[in-house]
Symmetry: C2
Subunit: 258 residues, 2 copies
DNA sequence: CGCGACTTTGAGGCGGGTCAACTTCAGTGG
DNA sequence: CCACTGAAGTTGACCCGCCTCAAAGTCGCG
């Protein structure tokens, strides 16, 4: 199959080696790619939730509007991510999702996941792992929002995003494209856009981060990670090890293999 | 089977009707109950993560220590919850877990979950739903921490907790036991204990909430929910509907090859 | 060239933090 | 029955990080 074309396969393969039929099952999730533009809404809060989607290219974020008119960005989605898993148990969307970039998404119905649970314990396990990693990310964001200063918040978000990109091969040598505006960063970090600007100025003065338009340069990764008490454990998923040990028992559910 | 004894069965049954053998599988998770005391650590950050556990009675919370010595409480666990799912993909604990109350927990190894994925697509689905609801809770906490005032934060936490308790049958007529100290509340909400105290005074003066020791009284639930822009969607899991429709297809594994 | 989106900078205000002292209360022992 | 203790909660004084409002500057693009 076209492993290299599919971000999801690459993403899942990262957790454990996939058999050919598992790859096929995954491909089924990406049958209907659709081009989307920056700023486009994939869906809005409280719409009926009937499908998930995979992000093949481009960035997206989920968000909630508050009564006072402000907006909170909940999570950033990068290529290879599955969007909407959080709503698995719900019939309504709990948050809107908007594209940051132009990109390509593939919608697939709820039922596909249920089928997948039946057909492949390996993929089920990986999916659970993906969801668990996602939760770890949320948790870390929670700490970030609750306890850190604006300065640390920004350092942390930048470092985290850089690390995530590096894993998907888009990062490298301390430079990356960050398509978020300062206002969007503010909405993600629970700050005001004005203060984000001031803080970038400060980061610049201290030589920790140089931001220009949508490009960010981090001359000293070590220094940045220390500035925000960054602990990368939550990004280093170790399921691969588990893949070798315990998953091996799993992939023989049906008798049909031979 | 002893449905009534097992919080988990009650919890899971809430999502879809369980078959007898599914109940049995769940019971296997609760084979080894252990008494624990208030303040006891179930595990600590960065210890090896080899098992999950179910909370049969008592409350618990997960937390992280930050470099500056402060502590962030991440989530509250109530009876019937599974603790540690977030670490499914990790070999280390990402957060510590501490008992708030005396209670009973049941530890079970990682592998049990993998077995469960193989044996029951229904339980797998429910587990996924549970995890998804848990994520919805985290997300709402994130909004709470990022965007709301101290006043609203406390209202929200109280209302959410009351609602969760009501569902498990422990709430009722606007009164409930909240075993958290003000310092623990502060750690959960990203506030200082001093300010939590002030805010309770304010809530008292306004007649919204009366707190005495570990008891909380909410004379007007409606008023409280309005005070914090509470939207309970994320607590009303609607999988039951899905249970009727799509889950029905699942329990018959390999017969239809399309 | 000029518009609109984004960013920067300044002035002033407030919510919540910190420190420290005091009060309340449950539990213990005399 | 009261005195003592330690944990939990309350209160006051002061401070600072971040917010808000407002205005000016920058840049890409039709």
């Amino acid at each position: 199959m076209n492993d290299t074309h599919s971000c999801i396969i690459r993403h899942f393969n990262h957790y454990a080696n996939l058999a050919e039929d598992d790859k096929q099952l995954l491909c089924d999730l990406e049958r209907s790619p659709v081009d989307t533009r920056a700023g486009q809404l994939l869906w809005q809060e409280s719409e009926p939730a009937e499908e998930f989607c995979t992000l093949r290219s481009g960035w997206a974020f989920s968000f909630r509007h508050l009564e006072d008119g402000s907006r909170q960005i909940l999570e950033l989605y990068l290529p290879g991510d599955i969007i909407g898993l959080r709503e698995f148990a719900f019939s309504q969307r709990l948050a809107g999702v908007m594209m940051i970039d132009d990109g390509v998404i593939c919608r697939f119905p709820h039922q596909h996941l249920l089928d997948l649970f039946q057909r492949s314990a390996t993929l089920t396990t990986i999916l659970f792992a993906v969801s668990s990693c996602h939760q770890a990310l949320l948790t870390e964001r929670l700490v970030n929002l609750a306890r850190r200063s604006a300065f640390q918040k920004i350092c942390h978000l930048l470092f985290e995003t850089y690390t995530r990109l590096e894993r998907t091969g888009e990062g490298g040598d301390g430079r990356f494209r960050l398509p978020l505006s300062q206002e969007q960063l503010a909405d993600a970090l629970g700050l005001s856009a004005v203060h984000v600007s001031r803080t970038f100025t400060l980061l610049n003065e201290r030589g920790l981060v140089f931001r220009n338009r949508h490009w960010v340069e981090i001359p000293d990764l070590q220094a940045l990670s220390e500035a925000c008490d960054f602990n990368g454990c939550y990004l280093n998923d170790n399921l691969r090890k588990l893949g070798a040990a315990s998953l091996a028992k799993i992939p023989a559910p049906s008798s049909s293999a031979g």
